[in-house]
Symmetry: C2
Subunit: 354 residues, 2 copies
């Protein structure tokens, strides 16, 4: 592997990232229009094999999409699900008994050698294998029995945005098809468009966080992958130390880091996740942290800043929308700090790990 | 839940934590002397049911012990394994099909209501249930079909230390018994004693990290749970922003946060984990980060600081030893910063999450 800087081509800093963030409503619409047939065919092939367990393997941003899918498999389908540690198969040579297992590798590029090797090993060990990529010609797609193309189009910014929400919606549609659903989810297109068009609150939060060096992001249940992905975006574009905790884990230790003025972002999409995070938000308000809440209008502590979400998105689809203002925040904050989110230090688009 | 400070009783700051760190060789010896028979009986009961999958549920420090066990199940036994998200069953009411699943809940206190509820639900859904606690009279132990007592004795410091290494060794012995092993692991007692008695290098590192506000800790494979647990210890005792990344994930984004002088700790126990982390350590040296390596003597980059480990510990047992100098570092750093690791802000010993 090598660590290089990707030039943004001399353009405006963050231009690529902004344009890919703005593309998301169109990408989501494309998945619903053009992707659904393929997802349903994949679902039928899976159901014919009747797997009982899901294992998901991914790295980086895609790992957060895998985590979202894990919740869907467990909650919606009642399948036990786990995130595979690729190193057990690649570094340690584990050869697990994977009969009855659906092994899903999620990767934007489909090019990471350790994921390809994990998937091949999983297949050899008896799993049914599915690759979810943005690259149908990739080695990962070729190695898997089944492939879902997330149809995000070429992603040029180093910080993944549209490929993430495309992964989320594609995985949602797969799980929905596996439960015999009819492909709900049309509402996300309009919701994404409304968030993408609402830059002002994001700029307000970026101004207040301009000099922050440490930030904690929390969410629970379906909102936890959002917290994880938001932390990664902020780290890779703004270089601040952003840490995500499930609201439950936050109380097991990391709460000690927080005090008056500590910057915290809580994701409160309402629903059961919102109920579960409410007592944590109360504590964060009591502690007088510098709190920003991402959530539907009208549901936010008076002292908190607010990144508004449209109302009425079903909780299981909400992660597709919640992340967007946080992607926008990462971009705004990076540019406001004089950095270029299209050319993060020490990163390149395809990370090859062995 | 309530957030209270636990007083250290007016004693010397960090006295409790120091004494429980120092107890670890004795606790490990006790497990090998008194715990092995019970672990083997548990193993026989599990083998009679022939589960094929392991799901582990835990929070905080215990979650890192669960992650270690996940690696053992996958690598040593070839069982697919996953970390359960308790919220899917407690917050969302998931009722997964858990036939053929061994569901293991790991908790020092055995008192966290969401773990108890998860385990009860798992049992009702067909799983074989095992509680691994330091509290045989706890609700979690009562709810499970099987129980392993980690025999750490009462743990009074808020920052868990001896209960963590006791969980690791107990889970190792369980997996070893499941593979038909003979209870190797005796070497950890002497190794732990040698680390506990070697405070000087820890103090040296604590001096160099005295004013650090952000720290990244990395490890791969079996060493990754160590990185996670070390980060939690540093957060809860020294309030610094410590983040753990698997060496592979570090390259997917967070590397952008690092530059010349950034504080990084890499866990390099040798073995396959050591081979896998070597190229990452090379990059960290190239970047001129302020690097500390935890590893056996004689195996460290010349420019790095060193927290030495005894040589010759088998890699699968190494996490039991690796964490100890990092526990010591958390304590030293906290005290050197004028804080009391026995009375962290906003934490108490048993965290109740719903």
């Amino acid at each position: 592997m090598s660590l290089t800087s990707t030039s943004s081509g001399g353009g405006q800093p963050g231009r690529l990232m902004a344009s890919e963030i703005a593309e998301q409503p169109a990408v989501l619409a494309r998945i619903l229009d053009d992707g659904l047939t393929g997802v349903r065919a994949t679902s039928s092939e899976i159901l014919a094999r009747r797997p009982r367990f899901a294992l998901l393997a991914a790295r980086g941003t895609s790992d957060h999409a895998a985590l979202y899918a894990k919740y869907l498999f467990e909650i919606v389908l009642g399948w036990p699900a786990g995130l595979a540690s690729p190193s057990t198969m690649t570094t340690y040579g584990a050869r697990p008994d994977l009969r009855d297992v659906l092994f899903i590798a999620v990767s934007q590029s489909g090019g990471s050698p350790d994921l390809v090797e994990s998937l091949k090993t999983a297949r050899a060990c008896g799993a049914m294998t599915l690759a979810v990529t943005n690259a149908p010609d990739s080695p990962l797609a070729a190695a898997a029995q089944l492939h879902i193309d997330v149809l995000a189009g070429p992603e040029r910014a180093v910080a993944a945005t549209k490929s993430y929400t495309a992964q989320l919606l594609s995985l949602y549609l797969l799980v929905d098809a596996l439960r015999g659903g009819e492909g709900a989810g049309r509402g996300v297109v309009e919701a994404a468009a409304s968030v993408v068009g609402n830059l002002e609150p994001v700029r307000g939060v970026a101004r207040r966080l301009l000099h922050v060096e440490r930030l904690v992001i929390t969410g629970r249940g379906y909102a936890y992958p959002t917290a994880r992905e938001a932390a990664l975006k902020l780290m890779e574009t703004s270089y601040l130390s952003a840490q995500a905790f499930s609201a439950a884990d936050l109380l097991h230790g990391p709460m000690a880091m927080l005090q008056e003025g500590s910057a915290v972002i809580a994701v409160d999409p309402g629903g059961r996740s919102g109920q579960a995070i409410e007592p944590v938000i109360e504590r964060l308000v009591e502690l007088e942290t510098d709190l920003t809440v991402v959530g539907p209008v009208g549901d936010v502590a008076a002292t908190a800043k607010h990144l508004p979400l449209p109302a009425g998105i079903p909780e299981e689809l909400s992660p597709i929308i919640e992340i967007i203002p946080l992607q926008m925040l990462a971009r705004e904050l990076s540019v406001a700090r004089g950095q270029d989110p299209d050319a993060p230090r020490g990163l390149r688009k395809v990370t090859k790990t062995w």
